[in-house]
Subunit: 440 residues, 2 copies
């Protein structure tokens, strides 16, 4: 250790351990030299470091004094002793909705694409385009057209690391006093953004099929936020009829639609359908898509398609935004799409989830005697448990190493996304026993 460091460590320790108290004077530089048998420069160096780090203060012409209070001493001690640890829980069955099928994704292929990008140092050592890499915008433009019927130009696409950061940018372009209509959703990320901006939120009633048009007509709103693949009390994909009704009503009233098309392309129980955006003759739909469920949840890439109006506003401010999504992942993903892997993988996923859903439905019908419905986009069943001791259910699940989401309004949501086909029945049997045990 260098000499000044020894001096520094000595006084630091003295302060942290309470030998030198707050406001107490330190030995003068000359005294320290004699005391510790070191040069003046060494002591000065050490004292300066202590000043810089906020342990002591220098009163010119007077001397050095301890300048740190008890709380900060505790903080210093805590961080110094801080041990890096990380607890990972493992579960027998995982019914939580934030997981995906682990074996469906060809990691090998994805790694190859990442590697190709990493091998090109020039790509990695420059900032990305704040709107998203152009190659990825081109690829997404084609993909969204083919798979979702979205009509747009790559210039209209904004890529972000997640759907919420895109909404933060979009909603910052809205006028003050914007009124936003949406279905009731607890803890929704979209709602958080609207609330952050202080926009007035009107909750629109819903029926089994989706938004209630009659109730919608009663609200005076500027923007309507909808989740087009998971609508209404039964979380169904939006029907053709409702789609037309919404588009003609919003066109007439000059309302913008934010279409959250979360997992819209991942159909395995219902028929394929296109997004609203492509049907809007009035260009009043802003479309959002994401890939966390199609590829890897850990991959943070979402995109938003501006309509012309907001595209123009964004374009003027573009320089004031920074890129959010990883350039590495963006470039790898662009080539992955261009080479056709995304559509291939989507096809594979649909088949896999169609099977899993069949097994799941059968098992629920057989073992769980409660009303249920499928939320296709979220890959889960919502089960209405009315006479259940919820906290007992949660505890019992934990005891048996079963991971579930928390229960809201007596509804238990169980996802089959990450369960193996062969374990679905056993998982449901075990869950049904826990439910029985927790019945009141």
């Amino acid at each position: 250790m260098k000499k000044y460091k020894i001096v520094y460590e000595k006084y630091k320790k003295d302060i942290l351990e309470g030998f030198l108290l707050n406001h107490q004077a330190l030995p003068s530089i000359r005294e320290s030299c004699q005391l510790l048998k070191v040069s003046q420069t060494t002591v000065e160096h050490a004292y300066n470091k202590l000043v810089m780090e906020g342990y002591i203060t220098n009163k010119p012409q007077i001397g050095y004094f301890v300048d740190i209070d008890e709380e900060r001493i505790q903080l210093h001690k805590q961080i110094d002793q801080y041990q890096i640890h990380h607890e990972v829980l493992s579960y027998t069955y995982d019914f939580r909705s934030q997981t995906v099928s682990q074996d469906s994704f060809e990691m090998k292929v994805w790694k190859r694409y990442l590697k190709d990008v990493l091998d090109n140092m020039a790509n990695m050592s420059t900032y990305g385009d704040s709107q998203g890499e152009y190659v990825l915008r081109e690829a997404l433009c084609q993909y969204a057209y083919n798979v979702r019927g979205v009509l747009c130009h790559p210039d209209q696409i904004l890529i972000g690391s997640n759907y919420q950061s895109l909404l933060f940018i979009l909603c910052g372009l809205f006028e003050k006093g914007t009124i936003i209509g949406m279905e009731y959703q607890k803890n929704s990320q979209a709602k958080r953004v609207f609330e952050s901006y202080g926009y007035q939120i009107e909750m629109i009633k819903m029926n089994n099929d989706g938004i209630d048009m009659n109730d919608l007509r009663k609200h005076d709103i500027d923007v309507l936020y909808i989740n087009s693949a998971s609508q209404g009390l039964k979380r169904k994909p939006i029907s053709h009829q409702l789609k037309n009704d919404l588009l003609s009503y919003t066109q007439e009233k000059n309302i913008f639609i934010i279409e959250d098309d979360y997992n819209g392309e991942l159909t395995y129980a219902s028929k394929d359908r296109y997004a609203l955006q492509g049907f809007s003759h009035n260009d009043n739909v802003i479309y959002c898509g994401s890939f966390s469920r199609l590829l890897l949840p850990s991959l943070r890439i979402s995109y938003l398609v501006f309509n012309k109006h907001y595209y123009q506003i964004y374009q003027q401010l573009k320089k004031q935004y920074g890129p959010t999504a990883s350039k590495l992942e963006q470039l790898a993903f662009a080539q992955y799409i261009v080479d056709g892997y995304l559509q291939k993988h989507l096809k594979k996923l649909k088949k896999e989830y169609r099977e899993k859903n069949k097994y799941m439905l059968k098992a629920i019908q057989k073992y769980i005697p409660y009303p249920y419905y499928l939320d296709e986009a979220y890959l889960c069943y919502h089960i209405q448990l009315d006479h259940i001791n919820e906290s007992q259910l949660m505890q019992e699940c934990q005891k048996q190493h079963i991971a579930i989401n928390s229960i809201h309004h007596h509804i238990l949501s169980i996802s089959f996304a990450s369960l193996q086909l062969s374990e679905i029945e056993n998982a449901i049997i075990l869950l049904s026993q826990i439910i029985k045990k927790s019945s009141r």
Copy 2:
């Protein structure tokens, strides 16, 4: 091609090429069967697809009609013909400030860390913690303490894909009517966030050293935004005196400070200094750090350290936020830090930039007879060019394959970050000739 697809493609083409006009009736299903010699199911399948994609509409009991206007036809055609292309410009010398040294980063090491994470499929197939991966928060807590003197607990850290998305979250927690003070900055990402929220922005005057304390006292603000490594008219790191003045004034007036510590640790021309955060006895500083300049600009990881007040508010809303930074990059980065590579790399970078800065300074003094000053954090020199035809300068640079940022207020900013040591002199000579040519 499947039979229904042939029928579908035929009518789609007829519509897009104008053989079937808007509102015109299609042949009935029976007529199409006879016309095209296919089964009724095949025609129905094709017609349904055309309805779904918004080309035709079905009037029950009457028939199918074209339902698409000219603008949408053009859009369909455009996207169908869309060619994926990507133009990459190459430059002889790149003076733009968004680049970094290409050879300083050990890509091999970084790839190894990425690979380790990718090999653990369980990590990749689950969503991340919306606050950021805990292991990375732990590692950053230690790093920020060691390198920046930041005092915090991992729970106080919020990780995001960039500094702006963190600010979007933070500013959404502020009260309505918040007044924010900041130095004048054109196109700043922070300003964009404040403006998005409609917060009143007070521009605080600056002098050569940083914020003008006398002017600050004249403004009634709730939050002060400062860039602690690049302050004032001469973009200097904040002085010890100003640091103390700011902390005691903001403590007295109950003002929160947002400390943007962009590149604060990357000192190569000035002395090391600690961030404000660690000196705040009043816990009124929110700290932001980022790594785009330390590692790879393409790596999107930034972090924010809440003070206790905003940490508590955030904690209550945490469920309503989604993760923004790539989990892959977060986990790789955590281990990279824990293994000491970040601090090692920082040391290497400082040495490299110290050398480059020496060469750059010498060359500017020798060849460019205009006033200049160094912006250490942004790795660039600002040169005051008063009698220059700016558009001619820009054009001439382009002609000679020299990349520069645009000129603001007669100030040309040239970065040495991505120049090789050996090319600095020649680059400056070439630039000086262009400047001479563009003089008025």
